[in-house]
């Protein structure tokens, strides 16, 4: 009797292990399909609790993949690998490089190995896990793309992944056509977001040198920025100023001074002292 119940318990345990394995396999296979772009789950905002949890989970995973891109760019080195005392100072709360992330002191901290043999755990870790500061060469930046694609497919609402991906494609791989296509996909998935419109407009302006298309996308971006219903943050204001700056620049080149005046007034309403506002004022003063 005792032996029989033991066998039942073993069978149940095996069944649970099989269930866990099947669930794990299904999750990874689904992820593979998402990464390969064969299956795109819709990500619409609904009031369903399940949908909100699903969206948030996908954003978290997408964020992890973007961190992976940062780690790949630095030769796999992450904050977790680093045994230097002052490393965290150079990183923001997301463990990515902050504004001062690539200062000289940060580089020097990476190249020194101050860990003594008499602190054995740190000593071994500092040698096993590479910590030297290294950046991926442009010709190898194709290694970053799978994680970018995976991040976008996992959470199409993750704006950062489209911006980082388009930067890599445009600046590092020097493939602006693909970068534009990628940003257009991002705009399609995030039709109300002005940031991706700005990125696309900047790419047309700076790389492709197609001012006409650039102007269209800056106007689209302004429209989307003005339509924002939330309380504007400092970042939103800076983005709007940037849009005014570029629209002003294009208006200046086209000698459209009425538009330039309108843009200056709108920019001054946001921040009179900003360098971009002053630049627009200077263009108008030149005429």
């Amino acid at each position: 009797m005792k032996n029989g119940s033991f066998k039942v318990a073993v069978s149940i345990e095996r069944l649970r292990i099989m269930q866990a394995l099947i669930a794990l396999t299904a999750a990874v296979v689904l992820q593979v399909f998402l990464s390969a772009g064969r299956l795109e789950l819709p990500q619409k905002s609904t009031s369903s609790l399940l949908s909100i949890i699903s969206d948030e989970t996908r954003m978290v995973f997408s964020g992890i993949m973007i961190k992976k891109v940062d780690a790949y760019f630095h030769g796999g080195a992450t904050v977790a690998n680093c045994t230097l005392e002052n490393h965290l100072d150079a990183h923001d709360e997301n463990q990515l490089h902050g504004e001062q992330g690539h200062s000289d002191s940060h580089h020097i901290a990476h190249t020194k190995k101050p860990v003594s043999f008499f602190r054995p755990v740190k000593w071994v870790n500092s040698r096993i896990h590479a910590q030297e500061h290294r950046h991926l060469a442009n010709e190898k930046s194709v290694e970053l793309l799978p994680w970018i694609v995976a991040a976008c497919r996992t959470a199409p609402k993750n704006i950062d992944s489209y911006q980082i991906g388009s930067y890599i494609l445009n600046r590092m791989i020097e493939n602006p056509e693909t970068a534009i296509g990628f940003l257009e996909e991002g705009i399609k998935n995030n039709p109300l977001n002005p940031e991706l419109e700005v990125s696309l407009a900047e790419m047309y302006f700076g790389t492709v040198k197609d001012v006409e298309k650039s102007a269209i996308h800056f106007e689209n971006a302004l429209e989307k920025s003005l339509a924002l219903k939330r309380e504007l943050t400092e970042d939103d204001n800076m983005l709007r100023l940037k849009i005014y700056f570029y629209i002003g620049r294009i208006a200046k080149d086209n000698r459209d001074f009425d538009r330039l005046r309108q843009v200056l007034k709108s920019a001054q309403d946001i921040n009179r002292e900003n360098v971009m506002t002053k630049a627009i004022a200077a263009w108008l003063a030149e005429e």
Binding site: F33, N81, I128
Partner: protein, 260 residues
């Protein structure tokens, strides 16, 4: 002495046969192939040339599967012996408890390392075909340190099997292994910001728990970092040997006190 060696080699052979008879290895190899083959041919944006992601995912799988196999093999040996009562004929003279423990440990270790060899062979084959790199010094170091990790995991699994049921043992060992893998090198920093009790717990974990992160050469291997000094490898392997030996001493003590 020679009889003990014969007994130990017989036990090793039995453990090896046991692993291959159970087909665990075939299952994880098929699972690995199912998961890896579709992602091997991903070309994001139609731009080919990326292989690091594949290298990393393949190595993660090698790590996960090898730890599962090591714990699976080591944690089932004694409970099975007790359940099937095969421990009695084994304990009959001249095989002592020390010989049985050593034989069973070496058997489980040989089985787990043989599985590791198969995993690495598959990994080298896949990465060689995809990236054209077949061998490097870092790869050799990664394999040696990984074998050291397996020695520690088998010792932990075997010691735990004399204290807990196999499922509890595997769960706890996995928690310790992955916890130390992810947080092992940051325990002192994490301890600094904690209260007194948590601080003691974290410092104790730093001193007593196995530093699995010592054996983790994935970053160097995946991102083409140079090999580490062989002195570091020797230090890590010594750590693995001492840790395994301490675990086996505890297991020996438990086995000697065990009432059947």
């Amino acid at each position: 002495m020679s009889i003990a060696i014969l007994q130990i080699s017989a036990l090793i052979k039995v453990s090896l046969l046991e692993l291959y008879r159970r087909k665990d290895l075939i299952v994880v190899l098929i699972l690995g192939a199912i998961l890896l083959l579709p992602i091997a041919f991903v070309t994001p944006f139609g731009i080919s040339g990326s292989g690091t992601y594949f290298n990393e995912i393949a190595l993660i799988m090698v790590w996960i599967f090898s730890i599962f196999i090591a714990l699976g093999v080591s944690s089932r040996i004694f409970p099975n012996e007790f359940e099937k009562r095969t421990i009695y004929p084994l304990l009959a003279k001249p095989a002592g408890r020390g010989v049985i423990l050593t034989g069973r440990y070496l058997g489980a270790l040989t089985a787990a390392i043989s599985a590791l060899c198969i995993f690495y062979a598959a990994y080298i084959l896949l990465c060689g075909i995809k990236q054209g790199v077949w061998f490097s010094e870092v790869l050799l170091q990664a394999f040696i340190l990984h074998a050291g990790l397996i020695a520690v995991m088998v010792a932990i699994g075997m010691t735990g099997s004399l204290l807990m049921t196999p499922s509890a043992n595997i769960t706890l060992s996995l928690l310790v292994a992955f916890g130390m893998l992810f947080f092992g090198n940051r325990l002192p920093e994490l301890a600094q910001g904690q209260g007194a009790i948590a601080k003691i717990a974290l410092y104790s974990a730093n001193a007593l728990a196995p530093h699995i992160e010592f054996f983790d050469m994935r970053q160097r291997l995946v991102h083409d970092w140079p090999a580490v000094s062989w002195l570091v490898c020797v230090v890590v392997m010594l750590y693995a040997a001492v840790y395994s030996w301490v675990c086996l001493l505890i297991a020996d003590l438990l086995l000697r006190r065990k009432r059947f």
